[in-house]
Amino acid sequence: MRASSLSYLLREGMRSIFKNRMISLAAIGVLVACLLLVGASHLLTQNVNSLVGYLESQNEVMVFLDDAAKGEDLTYVDTKLRALDNIASVTFISREEGLKTWMEQLGDDGTLLEWLVEDNPLQNSYRVVLRDLSRMEETLSQIRNIAGVETISASREMAQAVTSLKDGIARAGFAVVVILAGVSLVIVANTIRLTVYSRRKEIGIMKYVGATDTFIRLPFIAEGILLGVISATIAFLLLWAGYTGFVRWVQEGSFAWAGILQSHIVPFSSVASRLYLYFLAGGVGIGTLGSMIFTGKYLKV
């Protein structure tokens, strides 16, 4: 393709956008709305995930030691535990501390247990926090193999619940994004279809003057790409502003849950570049494909 044609195509694409301000605005409006929907649900999923991650970190496993294990044995178990890769933190709780905590928990009734101090029925133990709950079973058997460990108490139900919650959110988030993306595609495709439809006469004329399909399509595609880039940028900026506002609102909020939310909200900067990339890809892709597919129908003259 000659440079002259190329410059013509770009010029045409740009000019068309300004000339058909009406249609361009409509297309941009639709595309921005759709990108916003998808972007917002993506951010929501990310945040819920971050919250669930916090829930997960709250889960712990109690490791009870042999009464025989003392001194060096404890150091050995400690080292071994810390060496496991799925373990986030390890805290030692001696049998004395354990009893004290128990008595405190019982409150007034705890004084009834004072006689137990002489003959402490508890064991030395470790409170272990796992990194990844879905790998719980594997990690438990590793711990069980450490010499000196007698029993392990782990809330398998809680682990399952959190895992399935995480799973569900991942799936639901994915489903929502996919459905919204699908709906957006339908909407944008229809808009482009209308746009092309309103220019079908023009396309016919071009064909009668001897233009090839490619030649007719290229300005439409250039226009589609341009519209995509513009829409992606607008949507990105809007989402940025909106989300920042939301974050500020949460940070300043004094309602229950605010604490948990505040420390687990996903900052915009951490998703910004990826989001913009997605938006660009989506906008340009839909714009281009839409212009290509729907011009086709009117090229057959």
Binding site: S4, V209, G210, A211
Partner: protein, 230 residues
């Protein structure tokens, strides 16, 4: 150049627009096509441009059977034909200049060429000062002349013009037919539909008369050798 053999054209609703048309136009000829409203003149031209396909018979243009053209080949086929459409068919969102330039752009003509030819042909049809106007801001006759300029700018080997003077005053109509004659003398075959009998009489070219889808007269009107259809 243009050969119709037993061509029949039925439109989708069953209307028979052309019936057993035989027409042979040699390279370099200038042919007037006349006939009543609805006789089938535009249909004839549409068949040449492959805007419509014949229901029966063959249409050959430039030794190409239009019905056999592959989709990819159609644009290149059309570039060799300059057309003035009865309804002008200007691209509404392009200026007069761009409308004319478009016919060159599709052929990948270099910018230099476009810059030279477009003003020349706009000048030829008397629209040099309207180059930057949009078609909707032109008078009927001006639009028609833009359509003519676009048809000529490619120096096509075949020019078909559907009532190119329908919206133009008599004096300018004469100028335009003169212009077409000039172009014809330079080797371009010209087919022109017209209702203006004075023009036909004055220029005395071969004239084909169509009535109700049939060729009823072929030859010079008023003298000359009329090749009557069998």
């Amino acid at each position: 150049m243009v050969h119709f053999e037993h061509v029949k054209k039925n439109y989708a609703d069953g209307l028979c627009a052309l019936e057993d048309v035989n027409l042979h136009v040699d390279k370099g000829e200038f042919v007037f096509i006349v006939g009543a409203s609805g006789a089938g003149k535009s249909t004839l031209l549409k068949l040449i441009l492959r805007e419509e396909l014949p229901t029966a018979g063959t249409v050959r243009v430039n030794n190409v059977d239009v019905a056999r053209l592959r989709r990819r080949e159609i644009p290149f086929f059309r570039r060799s034909i300059g057309v003035v459409f009865q309804d002008f068919r200007l691209i509404p969102h392009m200026t007069v200049y761009e409308n004319v330039a478009f016919a060159l752009r599709v052929t990948n003509a270099p910018v230099r060429e476009i810059r030279k030819r477009v003003p020349f042909f706009l000048n030829l049809v008397g629209l040099a000062d309207k180059a930057r106007q949009m078609p909707e801001h032109l008078s009927g006759g001006e639009q028609q002349r833009v359509s003519l300029a676009r048809a000529l700018v490619n120096t096509p080997s075949l020019l078909i013009a559907d009532e190119p003077t329908g919206n133009i005053d008599p004096a300018m109509s004469c100028d335009i037919v003169d212009l077409l004659g000039e172009i014809n003398r330079c080797g371009t075959t010209v087919l022109m539909v017209t209702h203006q009998i004075p023009l036909v009489q004055r220029f005395g070219h071969r004239t084909v008369a169509i009535s109700q889808g049939r060729v009823v007269h072929d030859g010079r009107i008023g003298g000359g050798s009329a090749r009557k259809q069998s």
